[in-house]
Symmetry: C2
Subunit: 112 residues, 2 copies
């Protein structure tokens, strides 16, 4: 549980940056090389590489080097963690709404 929480911390913080979200979005369309990805980013290659490493260390993307080209692939399962967390929050709200509804219905019946 503590480990799951630490993974979520890293994933959320990794997503809290426009360059990294742009990489995620681009990789949603399919794998791309670091060179291709860097072309769209308004920064130097070393700065861009730092973002790639943050995404990779949080397992949001995987990279593989073949010759001089490093190819990046999206790991959708990591984003599913965020979806699961949001779904959990929604369940909590719905439970609350159900409880409120039962409360109102019970009170209506008791005080018609």
């Amino acid at each position: 549980m503590a480990q799951y929480s630490a993974v979520l911390d890293g994933v959320f913080v990794a997503l809290g940056d426009p360059t990294r979200r742009a990489v995620i979005r681009r990789l949603g369309r399919g794998p791309a090389s670091v060179g291709e990805l860097a072309r769209d980013a308004p920064m130097t290659l070393p700065s861009f590489m730092k973002h790639v490493r943050v995404l990779e260390s949080n397992d949001l993307i995987r990279t593989e080097k073949s010759g001089r080209v490093r190819t990046c692939v999206l790991n959708r399962e990591r984003l599913a963690l965020v979806e699961d967390w949001l779904a959990e929050q929604r369940r909590i709200w719905l439970d609350r709404t159900d409880r409120l509804e039962r409360f109102v219905t019970t009170n209506d019946q008791e005080n018609p």
Copy 2:
């Protein structure tokens, strides 16, 4: 667009902390005072207040002071931003799957 991106940055970073996620989860069940929320957090009140302020400055929660009690309320709309971003990524993946499927189908027809 740049403003939306900056808002997302803040929301994602704010969610990248277990104490802040615990506050969001608790407030999903209904409003609570800072005192109540702090009771569950393994830290001093000043440290906890910093987390409350991060959530408030990113509009994930709203707080109101009445006498000596500050009550916190969840702002679900901010979490909807994260849901929207995730939904956008899913659309991109689905488009890609559709394109791949059309490509495979077309090739099957051309090379039966």
